[in-house]
């Protein structure tokens, strides 16, 4: 007898979907790495001995800064309380610094209360960025920031 296809019989596990656990682990790891990195760099930054760090592949290979070059120095200036020079280094540092501060607290709150507010926010923002009216200006801003980085010679 010929078997008839039924959608309900499809049961392939969906590995590629970002689960709550995966996302929270990834973001927490990223934030921890970020704070450790800032912790290592901060004493050097304060004493003015910070060298060009050279973790950026683009900067290493082409000697041209990438759009997010200067973010470490920007966050370091933020930690130091120097908001103006933080903006001067790289405006993305404000975004990264805010995220590094807020997301661990948000995720902890979610985990403690067994809620899913952060992943809902992540998915909503991701969907939002797929619209050309948001993605277009965002890309333009990143490109403008990149041009500024190149002009500054970071």
């Amino acid at each position: 007898m010929k078997r008839i296809w039924q959608p309900s019989r499809i049961s392939w596990p969906d590995h590629n979907i970002m689960t709550r656990t995966n996302l929270y682990a990834l973001v927490l790891t990223a934030c921890c790495t970020g704070w450790i990195w800032i912790g290592i760099q901060f004493p050097l930054f304060q004493s003015g001995q910070q060298h060009e760090v050279g973790l950026c592949l683009i900067k290493q290979v082409t000697n041209v800064p990438c759009p997010s070059c200067g973010t470490t120095r920007s966050v370091l200036a933020l930690v130091d309380g120097d908001f103006a020079s933080s903006l001067q280094w790289n405006p993305l540092g404000w975004l990264v610094g805010t995220m590094m501060l807020i997301t661990p607290l948000w995720i902890t709150f979610d985990l403690l209360l067994k809620r899913r507010t952060f992943i809902h926010f992540y998915r909503r923002t991701e969907g939002w960025f797929k619209s050309k009216w948001v993605a277009g200006p965002a890309i333009a801003l990143v490109l403008a920031n990149w041009a500024w980085n190149i002009c500054k010679g970071l």
Partner: protein
């Protein structure tokens, strides 16, 4: 569906999926109605090799992840210089399996 068509689909599109997906795909296609064949043919899949090249060249900017549709991860890579360079290197190895998984999800959506 006709076995010949199923095998044609598998031969043409095998590179877009993981080897362990193919048995399951074949099983699903055999059960599929012939009327679904044009829809199945029209579905476009992302080439893992292309994504690998993009990852090698623009991985630090997160372009590979944007292309895959993982906008959140793309922004994450962009803001962190490719995860301090480490994530970029990990993605050189991860992007091809991730692309195949995405293709699998696209195939699954087609059937659903």
């Amino acid at each position: 569906m006709d076995l010949q068509k199923v095998d044609l689909f598998i031969m043409t599109n095998a590179k877009f999926f993981e080897a362990h997906h193919l048995g399951w795909i074949r099983e699903q296609l055999i059960q599929l109605d012939d009327a679904q064949w044009p829809t199945l043919q029209m579905q476009q899949y992302k080439d893992p090799t292309t994504l690998l090249i993009v990852s090698l060249l623009g991985g630090s900017l997160g372009i590979d992840r944007f292309m895959l549709g993982d906008t959140g991860l793309g922004v994450g890579k962009l803001l962190t210089c490719g995860g301090l360079g480490i994530w970029s290197i990990i993605d050189w190895f991860m992007i091809m399996p991730a692309t195949r998984e995405k293709n699998m999800a696209a195939f699954q959506n087609l059937l659903a």
